[in-house]
């Protein structure tokens, strides 16, 4: 009431920042603008495509991670699930080079489903806290990669061309994996916003006890999100092996934190109940752009990790300040 009116532009910016997705979008635009001023080639189609290729896998897994985080859980085992599924699929493909690539995709998803189901089982029926359960399977699944492969790798020349093209082929204008990521985003968006099961995920994350009292099968919802996380990892694993044309014992090592980072930067609340698909996609996009920009403006690749960490910190701090201010506005 007595508060002085903000200048128009500032008022507009504030309104944008308050909407989480718009805020990240704005940040991305500013970043892209700055980088393009420095290196105009940044906006070239080739480079943009490169960014999309780089974030497709991240986006797929981050979408699943988001559903897990909305239920107030976390899945740290994603990197090991990817590593294990990638190794197994690559071996099978190597043994059967004639196998249709699509079958490999299916196989990967089924393997991932089994791994995700195991996570789901111990979290729901075993009542092991998600952080602990997936911390455990993180090292179990990674150990199985070594056990499976005996420490050996699968190299590019051992894989058939059809398999390598699975991710990078462009029968439909854009590379397959970019289309797959887009498809995944659409499916998850529809699922979260327009199906009861999707709404149940929010309900369980928002108030678990009340969800149970409302007859929402809490255990089944939890099981489902970990299962889906496994399926997404299986899909990501096949794409990973195909894109990088190899399967190694350390495939995707440390990837779990990137997926959490994409979600958190995209506005998913670590305490559950909040998160949107556009937000996560923008979060993944931002991570990808930063990585690409650092390379393109010739900053040593050794800076990348530090920049990524800094970005997460900035995103979290800015979000916190914005939330605090919004809270104050609601009160007054």
């Amino acid at each position: 009431m007595t508060e002085p009116r903000r200048p128009k532009l500032a008022g507009f910016l504030w309104a944008v920042v308050r909407l989480r997705e718009a805020g990240i979008g704005l940040f991305i635009i500013i970043l892209v603008g700055l980088v393009t001023l420095r290196v105009p080639a940044f906006l070239s189609p080739d480079n943009l495509l490169d960014i999309l290729l780089n974030i497709s896998i991240l986006a797929i897994v981050a979408l699943a991670q988001t559903m897990v985080i909305i239920t107030h859980g976390i899945d740290l085992s994603v990197s090991s699930m990817i590593g294990l599924a990638a190794m197994m699929v690559a071996f099978v493909v190597k043994q059967n080079p004639e196998m249709p690539a699509l079958l490999a995709l299916l196989l990967g998803m089924m393997l991932g489903a089994a791994l995700g189901a195991f996570n789901g089982l111990i979290i729901t029926y075993g009542k092991v806290p998600p952080l602990i359960a997936t911390l455990g399977t993180l090292s179990i699944y990674r150990g199985l990669v070594f056990f499976y492969s005996g420490g050996t790798w699968i190299n590019s020349f051992e894989l058939p061309k059809s398999f390598k093209l699975l991710s990078k082929g462009t029968p439909l204008l854009l590379p397959n994996m970019v289309l797959l990521a887009l498809l995944a985003a659409l499916i998850v968006y529809y699922f979260l916003n327009h199906t009861r099961a999707g709404r149940d995920i929010y309900a369980v994350g928002s108030n678990p006890e009340a969800a149970q009292m409302s007859g929402i099968p809490k255990q089944r919802v939890l099981f489902l999100v970990y299962l889906l996380s496994g399926v997404a990892c299986g899909l990501a694993a096949v794409l990973w092996a195909s894109r990088f044309e190899s399967a190694q014992t350390n495939t995707a090592l440390g990837f779990e934190l990137q997926t959490v980072a994409a979600s958190v930067v995209g506005g998913v609340s670590i305490s559950g109940g909040v998160g949107t698909v556009p937000g996560v996609i923008l979060g993944a996009l931002l991570l990808g752009i930063i990585q690409n920009a650092l390379t393109i403006v010739r900053i040593s690749p050794f800076w990348q990790l530090a920049a990524q960490g800094l970005l997460i910190l900035i995103a979290v701090i800015v979000d916190h300040l914005v939330q605090q201010r919004a809270q104050r506005e609601v009160q007054s």
Binding site: A114, G126, L135, I140, F147, F302, A306, I312, L313, H320
Partner: protein, 375 residues
């Protein structure tokens, strides 16, 4: 059992508190969890002595024990942090950053002790920074330390790139490789034991320790009771940073060199050790004795498996399973005792997963066979 005599009038008022009601004895307070760990340790020792004649070799034990001290040093403040219901994912990255700073300074010709001091300072500051964000700005510790996890490791790469710092003077490598004069006890082990005792006493015998439990169980009530909650959080995160730096020095001294990926992934081992030791990830519960026993258990198991030529990563399967089972089994027993939960639907769900998993492993071994033959 001694009962204080009560006046007749008072005995009428039932249930008023009796000051000298028997408190749980020391042994009873040595809770079930710790006993389970002791049992497991005995089991592992017996099994390993059967499996390998080298297990009980004093020199071997002495050598292997120092392998776990960096983990142990970081575990001590981690127990504090987890008891308050927080977490610090950045410890191993902080370790890497500090060790890298020391290595970089050393390569620039700085005296190793000055470099080590600078590393300790940096680690402490890094911990303080975590604390500032988590305690003063009240951001979730998981997210904050996830960010600094990437950032601190990134700084390590910025400092050293693809280089490795090496050729540390012998006086320095003593920290990681040396033994106490005249004994087989490694210096790092002795350091850990002293620090573990100190941390244990602080946790269980001081007001500071009591506050940690209080914060973990109900932070708001602590604030209302005048407990300096945010200062305490700041202290434990700073302490964690300092200990990570110390662990970094010891690890660098043990390796005799520093690469920027030094100690990668240790944070999860540290958390595993604490949780396996009975520290509740949700805060409020845990003991230093349990955490140290669990460190011992993990060390003995890894050592035993190493003697059997099992790869480090495959050992992770066993440790991971142990971590999950340690929580799953007690929970499972509770569930089984309350039979009502076992309706047909849950049995069906479990069955489906078991079949799915059987299929998975069937496929796992079937497809693996040619791998082994080929390899």
């Amino acid at each position: 059992m001694k009962q204080t005599p009560l006046a007749p009038a008072e005995t009428q008022v039932t249930n008023l508190i009796n000051e000298f009601a028997p408190r749980r004895s020391f042994l009873a307070r040595f809770q079930r969890w710790e006993w389970m760990l002791v049992g497991l340790i005995v089991l592992v020792v017996l099994l390993n002595t059967q499996l390998s004649p080298y297990f009980l070799d004093a020199l071997n034990l002495s050598r292997t024990s120092s392998d776990f001290m960096e983990m142990g040093l970081m575990m001590l403040p981690m127990v504090f942090i987890i008891i308050t219901g927080n977490i610090d994912l950045s410890v191993a990255s902080n370790l890497g950053m500090c060790a890298s700073l020391m290595g970089w300074l050393f390569m620039q010709g700085v005296n190793i002790w000055v470099a080590a001091f600078a590393a300790l300072l940096l680690g402490t500051l890094a911990g303080f920074f975590n604390g500032l964000l988590a305690a003063r700005m009240k951001l979730p510790a998981l997210v904050v330390t996830l960010g600094t996890y990437a950032f601190y490791r990134g700084v390590a790469y910025v400092l050293l790139g693809d280089q490795a710092a090496r050729d540390y003077p012998e006086a320095f490598t003593y920290l990681g490789q040396g033994r106490l004069p005249g004994t087989l006890i490694p210096f790092s082990v002795a350091l850990f034991i002293v620090l573990a005792a100190a941390f244990g006493l602080v946790l269980h015998r001081t007001t500071f320790g009591r506050y940690l439990y209080g914060i973990g169980n109900n932070e708001n009530a602590c604030i209302y009771s005048g407990v300096p909650v945010s200062r305490i959080k700041l202290i434990i995160f700073t302490l964690s940073g300092f200990m990570a730096a110390l662990a970094g020095l010891i690890l660098a001294a043990r390796f005799g060199s520093t690469r920027p990926d030094i100690g990668n992934g240790l944070e999860l081992s540290v958390i595993t050790a604490a949780v396996l030791g009975g520290v509740d990830i949700n805060g409020g519960v845990g003991s230093m004795v349990g955490a140290c026993l669990s460190l011992l258990l993990i060390g003995l198991m890894r050592f035993g498996m190493g003697l059997l030529n099992i790869q480090g990563q495959v050992q992770g399967v066993v440790i991971g399973l142990l971590l999950i089972l340690s929580i799953l089994l007690p929970n499972g027993l509770v569930q089984l005792s309350g039979v009502k939960r076992l309706d047909r639907r849950s049995i069906l769900a479990v069955l489906v997963v078991v079949i799915l998993f059987a299929l998975f492993f069937g496929f796992f071994f079937w497809s693996r066979a040619p791998v082994l033959i080929g390899g």
